[in-house]
């Protein structure tokens, strides 16, 4: 991994069109600004991991058809 030291308001460029700016530093928290083209997706790494873990949980559901039917009935009665 490439490691670069940066100060407040300094930035790095990735490729031709992605800029990462150090916007604020307070204690152990750093605020980072990212300028990237609209077709580049930028997310916190832990969100990806959390969704993956939730997908695995969802895939491992063991529910009897009758119980799913009961949940469906309750949901249909739910006032909007």
């Amino acid at each position: 991994m490439l490691v670069l030291a940066r100060r407040l308001n300094q930035s790095i460029i990735i490729g031709n069109d992605i800029e990462v700016v150090i916007v604020d530093i307070k204690g152990d928290q750093v605020k980072i600004g990212i300028k990237a083209p609209k077709n580049v997706s930028v997310h916190r790494a832990e969100i990806h991991q959390e969704i993956q873990a939730e997908n695995i949980k969802a895939m491992n559901i063991q529910i009897k058809p009758a119980d799913l039917g009961k949940l469906s009935d309750i949901l249909k009665k739910k006032p909007q």
Binding site: K38, H43, Q62, P65, L68, G69, L71, I74
Partner: protein
């Protein structure tokens, strides 16, 4: 055209080929699986199944979020819409993946942070990440209703 597939909830069944969705990027954590069928639980149920055509155990229960979160509108990036050739979110079919605790099914939740966005015309789909941080990973589906024994 119909096709016979193996499903986790119903065993072997015939589906219409128009029920098959193509996920170019798979689903998060299951990137290699690109083809899923969207199958109704039954005609009356709000639940559907998203069943992988390649791996029988890879199946998710999904639900349309407007049934329990009518104001929900995922904040997507242009890259999400581009991947499945959507010009706007209004054209999309939005489904959310359901997690049901084995010991307490009424506490089932839906993932509003990682919705499944489907282009109904091309049947291309993607699990996107909503950039709105108020969209929870686990939204209680049966919030605000009296508890009944399930």
């Amino acid at each position: 055209m119909t096709k016979e597939i193996e499903t986790k909830p119903f065993g072997k069944m015939q589906i219409d080929e128009r029920q098959i969705l193509n996920f170019p990027e798979g689903i998060l954590g299951f990137e290699k699986y690109n083809e899923f069928a969207l199958i109704e639980e039954n005609q009356e149920s709000p639940f559907k199944w998203l069943q992988s055509l390649n791996e029988i155990d890879l199946a998710f229960i999904v639900i349309q979020p407007d049934l329990f979160a009518p104001d929900y509108k995922p904040a997507l990036g242009q890259e999400d819409l581009d991947l499945i050739n959507l010009s706007s979110l209004e054209e999309a079919l939005i489904m959310t993946i359901v997690t049901i605790p084995n010991d307490n099914p009424q506490m089932m939740t839906a993932n509003l942070q990682g919705p499944v966005i489907i282009n109904p015309k091309t049947r291309a789909a993607k699990q996107c990440i909503s950039k709105n941080e108020n969209h929870p990973l686990r939204k209680l589906i049966l919030e605000n209703i009296p508890m009944e024994k399930v």
